[in-house]
């Protein structure tokens, strides 16, 4: 195994120690895990620390609008078949959080790193990854995120000539555009339910034609590459045409897609798809997502959906009517303060479910549901919403900070 054959320099060791001390202070003060402040302090002592820590590891980076955290978990499980793994499993996905996570894994062979979309090119430069998994790109946090296509353009420039194996979703035109500047790409037909951010050709601006699962630009010829891996129903088909069953505890099509990409990445690290997929089955819930918790004599399933693409995937995995659905939306800093994306979500998919509305922006949701001609009830808080549903399963769908509020209230 790779291990730490080459010990860290005194400066890097000092940086790691200072970072740990800062994290411990932050934890003692009750301010979360301290991983971000720890990483920031460590990087202040040694700006090259991230590169130094990564030098001893076979690193894979995971980035996307949706599914980063879950895919990172699935992939970490799969790679453990080949040796110890260090990972930022809690979703601290900017350079400080990544540095902090890597500093905690001195015996690891593999680094499985979730990276925020905006930082991907920079982190890829710093850590010289062996592989990069690119899942999807769509609108998110309208008030401050860069344009989705601009993000793809930055990836494309940042990854041009990268020595990493890029494992990319061929069904997403923006991902394809971003990845196709790289010399080595493994294309995975991983599917794409949300299509409304890719009607324009990322290359020439022409209107994309999207018959069935295919897509192409009629003007410049940019088109879907031929995939070597494919998600096909409940199976992932490898380059030899062998279909491997995907069995997960995590629900939904999107997670099968995440598993298919993870299997392709694992194969690049020499892990057999059968072994990789069996290990992925172990993943139950990811930072509370998909967890089923008992609360006020009901079983609440906690579902995170941060943007229109995420809501679309979430609607496809919930239990059918008459299972009640709680919707909670906030618009705090981490959520993005522009709520107009609610109008890109097709709430008519919830027809027949009792709908209970909570969260800071419940009035925005109420108008949205009224215009969709749905029956709903606005509640003061989670407790009132849960009590107004009969005992049994409730699906609770929330965006980022609303999800954190839910977890806190139910003690998850």
């Amino acid at each position: 195994m790779a291990g730490n054959s080459e010990p860290l320099s005194p400066r890097a060791k000092l940086a790691v120690t200072a970072g740990r001390a800062a994290a411990a202070v932050s934890r003692a003060a009750g301010k979360g895990s301290g991983s971000v402040i720890g990483g920031k302090v460590a990087l202040r002592f040694d700006p090259d620390l991230l590169a130094r820590l990564a030098r001893h590891l076979d690193v894979v980076l995971v980035s996307a609008t949706n599914g980063k955290t879950t895919t990172t978990r699935l992939l970490a499980e799969a790679l453990r078949a080949g040796g110890p793994v260090v990972s930022n499993a809690l979703g601290a996905n900017m350079p400080a959080g990544i540095t902090s996570a890597l500093a905690g894994g001195s015996d690891a062979r593999f680094g499985v790193i979730e990276v925020d979309e905006k930082y991907l090119a920079g982190v890829a430069r710093d850590v010289s990854p062996k592989a990069i998994a690119l899942l999807n790109l769509s609108r998110d946090q309208l008030d401050r995120a860069a344009e989705t296509r601009m993000l793809a353009e930055k990836w494309r420039e940042g990854l041009a000539g990268s020595e990493a194996i890029i494992v990319a979703n061929a069904d997403d035109p923006l991902i394809t555009w971003a990845a196709s500047s790289s010399p080595t790409v493994v294309w995975v037909a991983a599917g794409q339910s949300w299509k409304d951010d890719a009607w324009s050709c990322p290359s020439c601006g022409g209107v994309l034609q999207r018959p069935g699962d295919d897509w192409y630009c009629g003007e410049c010829g940019f088109r879907r590459p031929t995939p070597t891996w494919a998600l096909s129903g409940d199976h992932v088909v490898d380059p030899y045409g062998v279909a491997w069953p995907i069995q997960l505890q995590l629900p939904g099509r999107a997670n099968k897609s995440n598993a298919a990409v993870s299997a392709a990445v694992a194969a690049a690290f020499g892990i057999d798809p059968k072994v990789a997929l069996e290990r992925m089955y172990k993943v139950q819930a990811v930072a509370g997502r998909y967890d089923v918790v008992s609360f006020l004599q009901r079983d609440l399933r906690l579902l995170l959906a941060k943007n229109p693409a995420g809501w679309l995937e979430t609607f496809s995995l919930i239990d059918g009517p008459p299972t009640p659905v709680i919707l909670s939306v906030n618009a705090r800093g981490a959520d993005g303060t522009d709520t107009s994306w609610l109008w890109d979500v097709d709430y008519t998919r919830l027809a027949g479910h009792p709908i209970l509305v909570i969260g800071d922006r419940k009035m925005d949701l109420a108008v949205r549901l009224e215009v969709a001609n749905l029956q709903f009830r606005v509640c003061a808080n989670l407790d009132e919403a849960v009590r107004s549903a009969p005992p049994g399963r409730i699906e609770a769908i929330a965006n980022y900070t609303a999800f954190q509020d839910l977890r806190r209230r139910v003690g998850n």
């Binding site: 009607w199 522009d338 107009s340 994306w341 109008w343 009035m363």
Partner: protein, 242 residues
Amino acid sequence: MSESSLRLVWVYPDLLSTYGDQGNALVVERRATQRRVPVTRVDVRSDQPVPTSGDIYLIGGGEDRPQRLAAERLRRDGGLNRAVANGAIVFSVCAGYQILGHEFINDLGRPEPGLGLLDVVSTRGEGERCVGDVLADIDPQLGLPPLTGFENHQGITHLGRTARPLARLRVGKGNGTGDGTEGAFNDTVFGTYMHGPVMARNPHIADLLIKLALDVNALPPVDDQWYDALRAERIAAAVQPA
């Protein structure tokens, strides 16, 4: 324009629908349907001709590159200009508002000709993006309650002589000119920087467009309780940000 049905045209959702712009179409549709006015909604992609027989045209917000592409294709197509010449109503938001003017600055930093349907010229601001809740008083001529919206743009729009400001700002940046104006209108052509989307927060604007299209002075009342609750909340938030 027929008496009993409404043709609603949503222009270029493939390019100009970044900020929940479908919401404006959904609110107009819903509020017309609640008045038993049948609606035919036509979504026109940018490789299709813009029909000239619509009653109400909606054109939304988008990013810089799609905005240029939309302007190029709308100029080439000419359908929207012909529809307005026939008396059609146009309601435009943000990037769409700039396209309706004489000129705006495109993603390449160059002046891009618009459609000249509103007497406005847009440039790009140098400072921070204008992001946040807005409150403004709509031109009394339109007889509408205050405008509430969410702005998220970097544009500056100067009004010419034949464009009237849609509203006077109480809170927010609006046209970004520092003269306290927000949006513009002239006869049946309207432009605003307000997202939200704007009709969800100002259903009376949707009603105004429906009345203009049907050529009636009043519409039967509908239940506005959730709109009213949202308006009250957002107006309070604009006046006293959290």
